[in-house]
Amino acid sequence: MTTTATTTAPMLRVLARREIRHYLGAKLYWFGTALLVAVTVAGFVGSATRGAADHQPSAAMDMIAPAALLGVLGLIVMAGLTRRSDRAAAAAGTVAVPERTRTAALAAATVVPVATAVLWYAAAVVTYLVYPPTPDTVPFPPFGDGYVLTVMFALGVVPALGGPILGLLLARWLPRRGVTPLAVVLVVLVTIILQGNFEATWRWRVAWPWTYWYGPFGWNSGTGHWLALPGSPHLWVAYLLALCALGVLVAIYHDPESDRARLRLLIGATAGVAAVALVLTMLLGLPEATWNPITGPIS
């Protein structure tokens, strides 16, 4: 056991570096990143060239791009890397590297999409500060720029971590043909229904890991009136990070030779933290949906 303990950490570092290289070699990652760069540049140019009468939220509503291009595609990339890792382990026969170490190394590879998302976030913040949103969008009392920037972080950066971890989880527990693409469709279907357009979901929609916190709700009816939804996005970030940690732990738990008793304890504690953060997300922050006092048609 002592030998395993002493050899696992260096092995993890070696494997993590290898999985990071594999992630960087994934064509789908580069496809998503290239598209994200194009969309971000187009967003900046669009904000720079807007007219005085335009109604634009600047980068405050651009989070769908990193979420889809790094999060959704990251789910697929990570599922592929997990299968590749399993194939290599199977080909090697009886190996010294346990599954839990390989899982942890794969989880470490999420540094690639997260770093990319942080770069996007920096560009989005620059766009937001240089070309601020028009007053009929966000922010509006009682919340300020900090609220908007937190939401942008939660919806733009955290999915780059959560998407690949979901891919890891699926590849570990449901390694069947067709599961990953079907999971993508189901995730998008639920996400789009819970994005906050339906009033019945406003209070509890935050249980789902991707939902809008503000926007031109009712824009399809032609009003284009901006609204902020109840809850605290700051605590929601804590909830999302707890979910990510939970995902990694459950993926490691798949290894039958892991210390499952200790893992169960950790999983229970992390689930408890997530539950508390979720409840606080619902209870704190904006007590109810708040309309922007300035109305304006959507551009």
Partner: protein, 235 residues
């Protein structure tokens, strides 16, 4: 017309649970679009991607090492596997027809998107099958479903490249240009499919006993590698 031997082949070869799940999901996605097309429109593009991915699954041949050298050619086997593609296209047609009132007056354009995507899937996967890859559909679905989903959500450069137009056009993409693009893509894919099947050389029908078949009788060789088909392996 599918012969009974083809149906027998399809009954065992097509991944029916996946076909059923995809058909249900496609219907569900377009039902959601019908419920609130303004809000849930990206699901229309997701449905097109799922249809293309599911068509790819139908054409996979995990037992390629066994069926590739058999007398039944790629055309015969592809035709047999259309028994799995048919319910997917039927689900697509039914769902589009059901949601037609909420497709911004362009149900035919949406229908064409699905058929073109299915044709592209068939052409690409069959081409990879002819090259000796056993399950290219799996690889295809893993890429095409998330990419179309991401594209439908983000809709980059929609003014210039209206893959999934939205609403009544204008800044959200021109429906006519989009339909023309999908139609040309679908027709090109159909031509590529025909070329792949013709190049395979073996007939679409089952060779009769005693008659020389493409492989055993005519010494069919893999055009790409100039090696006997028997050597191709399953991938």
């Amino acid at each position: 017309m599918l012969r009974s031997s083809m149906l027998h082949h399809a009954a065992r070869a097509v991944p029916w649970p996946l076909v059923a799940a995809a058909s249900l999901l496609i219907t569900g996605l377009l039902a959601a679009v019908r419920y609130d097309s303004w809000t849930l429109w990206p699901l229309q593009g997701t449905a097109v991607g799922l249809l293309a991915g599911a068509v790819g699954w139908c054409l996979d041949e995990p037992a390629a090492a066994v069926v590739d050298p058999a007398p039944r050619g790629l055309a015969w086997r592809t035709l047999a596997r259309t028994a799995g593609i048919a319910p997917l296209l039927a689900a697509w047609c039914a769902a589009v027809w059901w949601a037609r009132a909420d497709l911004y007056g362009h149900p035919w354009a949406v229908l064409v998107q699905g058929f073109a995507a299915a044709t592209v899937a068939t052409a690409w996967v069959t081409r990879r099958r002819a090259a000796g890859e056993a399950t290219p559909g799996q690889r295809w679905a893993i890429v095409v479903v998330p990419v179309t989903t991401a594209w439908a959500l983000v809709r980059p450069v929609e003014e210039h490249l209206p893959v999934f137009p939205y609403g009544y056009g204008d800044a959200f993409g021109d429906w006519t240009i989009s339909s023309a693009g999908w139609a040309v893509t679908g027709l090109t894919a159909a031509l590529m499919l025909a070329a792949t099947l013709i190049r395979d050389g073996r007939p679409w029908y089952r060779p009769r006993a005693g008659r020389p078949s493409g492989i055993s009788g005519s010494g069919h060789r893999d055009q790409r590698r100039d090696q006997p088909v028997l050597d191709r392996g399953g991938g």
